[in-house]
Symmetry: C2
Subunit: 240 residues, 2 copies
DNA sequence: CTTACCAAATTGGTAATACCAATTGAGGAA
DNA sequence: TTCCTCAATTGGTATTACCAATTTGGTAAG
């Protein structure tokens, strides 16, 4: 379903099979997983492959490996941050309705505040970068292409204009997570022009150093995107 | 320096040596790293150990492994999200001054908005949880202990009161990152009482459903913490 | 029956080796 | 110069082996 660049199918599948295995067994915090050797046998993989998958799950704080003892599930509140969710989305594991709502809400908070900071701090090269992306988007739209990646680039460039690289990384995780959805959003070509007009309004507000205007523009823009997500949830609930 | 639970010294060291190696060689986006076999020889480790470390770096989006081709450094804008920074902090790799400022700023944004949402949505059990943590903190202070973990628990419980678990995970990453610093902050015992009073003010504002009051209380509280961080940066700049 | 102790099985951590498939790049043929 | 061929390189995987520490079980002493 989802193309996973830079991640071999086998290894991705192992993580993707390990996560549901943990969930399905209803393991709770502190519970011990089967040993590496047993997992290798159960999933028909080598111990090395299992260890690689476990290393990733450990880095994402989903499990904990205690030498000479076993593999344990970490308490939920200590589990991985958004990276773990991104990984699951990449693996094609659908987000729950609650998670979708939460992601949408947090994205709104982050981007509203980002655009305020951007309006306060933007440097000439930031505005220039926004303009370049807008021009590129015009070209894609004129060629009847899908401006999904340009849309992401614009939003990320807006965050970059805050000068806060950590901020950029966090927001980037959200855009990595929803890349395919975003492509579907722009697929029929009807939404791109309005989106582009709203982007231009945001660009202008940021360029003239108007935080309130930029925040308002971003707020209105996000409402459209969010209603699309909510409709998707309702469709899924109806079984579409 | 930093205790790393659930991560063996060797493997942690391998990632911790690999990251500076990448940075030191001034590799740029798209550059190829040495092959796995070469890295294994250079770091005196087996290929399996190297592959485990590389799997983690790939999951954190720092590198990209192309089968039958090589290992490549990802473009910065596509690099790991906050998890990569958390990992570096855990490994004892000090954050740059810019990164510290960025983390502090983003934490402020997240917590200010979180406490607003918490005041709007708090349920009785959320307030109860806050009260329990406050009571536990009182006990620790009375016993002349270090309430660093209770401080983190309070802030995280505040985010949990938003009902947004993704929000909680992101903020949790920040607290994982700064655990040792937080212990140092409360080490001499002089800051705990004021912090506790400010926490109580935040709890009251949230309990009575007062977003503006809660946000103001959080803002004042964070100012004290942030000035501590900034002093640390100045000390480091002077070579202390 | 309880306690203390010992030994074997289990577990994660590491290393070494081998093979596969696909990419890559150099060298030769047209 | 262009195109083709083939061997070296590379990441992906599996197998095997050993280590050290923990767990576990039973045994013997109290």
């Amino acid at each position: 379903m989802i193309a996973i660049p830079a991640m071999g199918d086998e290894r991705a599948n192992l993580i993707g099979r390990l996560l549901p295995f943990i969930a399905h067994r209803r393991l709770e915090a502190g519970d011990r997983l089967p040993s590496e050797r047993e997992l290798a046998e159960r999933f028909a993989a080598s111990r090395g492959a299992v260890r690689e998958a476990l290393a990733v799950l450990e880095a994402l704080r989903i499990i904990e490996r205690r030498p000479n003892s076993g593999i344990y599930l970490r308490p939920v509140e200590r589990q991985g941050s958004i990276e773990a969710i991104v990984l699951q989305a990449e693996l094609g594991i659908p987000l729950t309705e609650a998670e979708v709502r939460e992601v949408v809400e947090l994205r709104r908070i982050l981007e509203m505040q980002a655009v305020r900071l951007a309006a306060e701090r933007r440097r000439p090269e930031d505005v220039q970068r926004l303009d370049e992306i807008l021009a590129r988007t015009d070209a894609v739209i004129a060629a009847a292409g899908n401006p999904a990646d340009e849309d992401a680039a614009f939003h990320l460039a807006m965050v970059e204009a805050t000068g806060n690289h950590v901020f950029l990384r966090v927001v980037n995780a959200f855009y990595l997570m929803s890349r395919n959805r975003r492509r579907a959003y722009f697929a029929d070509g009807s939404r791109a022009p309005l989106s582009q007009r709203q982007h231009r309004a945001m660009r202008d507000a940021v360029a003239e150093g108007n935080p309130d205007g930029a925040e308002a523009a971003m707020g209105g823009h996000l409402r459209g995107v969010e209603s699309y997500w909510m409709e998707l949830l309702e469709k899924r609930a109806r079984g579409d």
